[in-house]
């Protein structure tokens, strides 16, 4: 349940932001989940809903909106761009699991599919981001 730790960071960041903005209730929290992190959405949502209880300001039930962001990887050597899903099938479970914990180890376990370079960049879809929050003042 590594998802729990990430969910906790979302809830704490949302509460922090809402406090700054003097919101009395948080009505919507939109979370962008980068494909590379391969989050189990059900577990993540369960964790978010458990953690939302007893927060101040309160977070309304069903406030969490989850959006997945497709990954884009760009090679610095040859300019190729590709998606993690295109190469995931070729990865063994251990390497894929490692990328789930630390997305940057994609540079360790994979290479540019066109030129074989390890020098590429995660341009989109890395991990979990708090996209926006809405609430009532």
């Amino acid at each position: 349940m590594h998802e729990w730790a990430l969910a906790e960071s979302i809830v704490m960041a949302a509460v922090e932001e809402a406090t700054k903005e003097k919101l009395k209730t948080i009505t919507q929290v939109t979370v962008c989940i980068g494909e590379l992190q391969q989050i189990e959405k059900e577990i993540f949502l369960f964790a978010l809903n458990e953690l939302r209880k007893s927060q101040k300001p309160p977070i309304k039930k069903d406030a969490f909106v989850l959006r997945t962001e497709k990954s884009t990887l760009t090679c610095h050597t040859c300019g190729n761009t590709w998606k993690f899903t295109e190469m995931k099938k070729k990865l063994n479970i251990t390497d894929s699991e490692s990328i789930h914990f630390i997305p940057e180890v994609v540079f360790v376990h994979t290479r540019c599919p066109r030129c074989g370079s390890p020098d590429f960049e995660i341009t989109k879809g890395r991990g979990v981001i708090l996209s926006s929050i809405k609430g009532v003042r």
Binding site: M1, H2, W4, A5, L6, E8, S9, I10, M12, A13, A14, E16, E17, S98, F101, I102, P103, E104, V105, F107, V108, H109, P118, D119, E121, I122, R126, G127, V128, I129, L130, S131
Partner: protein, 241 residues
């Protein structure tokens, strides 16, 4: 918005002291000092953790003989306890493959490790820092506000040149400095001691070059008996840990 920074304080709140073992220069024995320090404190009955932040070339796992281990998943990841030390390293996720990370990746990895690692209650968390004053050092200063620095140098003027820069920036940033330990000494020269004192930093002492150290690597029971351990223990008596 980056959410991980919001949870770091909570993850570290039950850690009494954080000691970053650092140097401006590579190859001065930071990992060796960090590993010995952790073993020394664990032997005294303290609850100790190690976070190896040398992401390109982690080596604490080699020194401490950590093999075939992986963190447990429980509301994050719980580091395995090895020889009484909660041990966290990128090596669980990279194995022994090369790690071609750029600066932004380094910061992301550190944030991720700090956000998901559940250390629990520790008396000491020892951080094995990479050389220099790059992303890792700046991130430790930024995210681990209570960290104290133990700086390692060798007797070489070359090492001291880079170490002096690290000390200057730590002094400028008003970071707590435990002092400087002089590692791998082969003479009684007072050069490093005088230079360190000139910066008004505490000189902790010498760790003599140990010809037999290599034979103890990977075996904590042997590491506890090395000359390095004896000298480090003596150096640590000059500060309150």
């Amino acid at each position: 918005m980056e959410p991980r920074t919001s949870v770091i304080e909570k993850r570290l709140k039950n850690i009494h002291r954080i000691i970053a073992v650092a140097s401006g220069k590579g190859g001065v024995g930071k990992s060796m000092v960090a590993s010995h320090l952790a073993l020394h404190l664990a032997k005294q009955g303290h609850r100790v953790g190690i976070l190896d932040l040398d992401l390109y070339g982690p080596s604490c796992h080699i020194i401490l003989g950590v093999k075939h281990q992986f963190p447990t998943e429980e509301k994050g990841i719980i580091p395995p306890v090895i020889h009484g030390i909660s041990f966290m390293s990128i090596v669980y996720f990279t194995e022994e493959k090369p790690s071609p990370f750029r600066g932004i990746d380094i910061s992301n990895i550190i944030l991720e490790l700090l956000a998901i690692t559940q250390w629990g209650h520790l008396d000491f968390l020892i951080i094995d820092m990479p050389p220099g004053i790059g992303d890792e050092t700046l991130d430790v200063i930024r995210y681990m506000k209570n960290s104290e620095f133990l700086v390692v140098t060798t007797p070489s003027k070359v090492a001291l040149g880079a170490v002096r820069k690290l000390l200057s920036i730590l002094i400028e940033l008003k970071k707590p400095l435990l002092g400087v330990v002089e590692n791998m000494t082969m003479s009684d020269s007072a050069f490093i001691e005088q230079e360190v004192q000139r910066l008004q930093v505490k000189y902790l002492g010498k760790i003599h070059f140990d010809h037999t150290l290599e034979e103890s690597i990977g075996n904590p029971d042997l590491l506890l008996k090395t000359q390095v351990m004896k000298d480090l223990g003596r150096a640590l008596t000059t500060i309150q840990l």
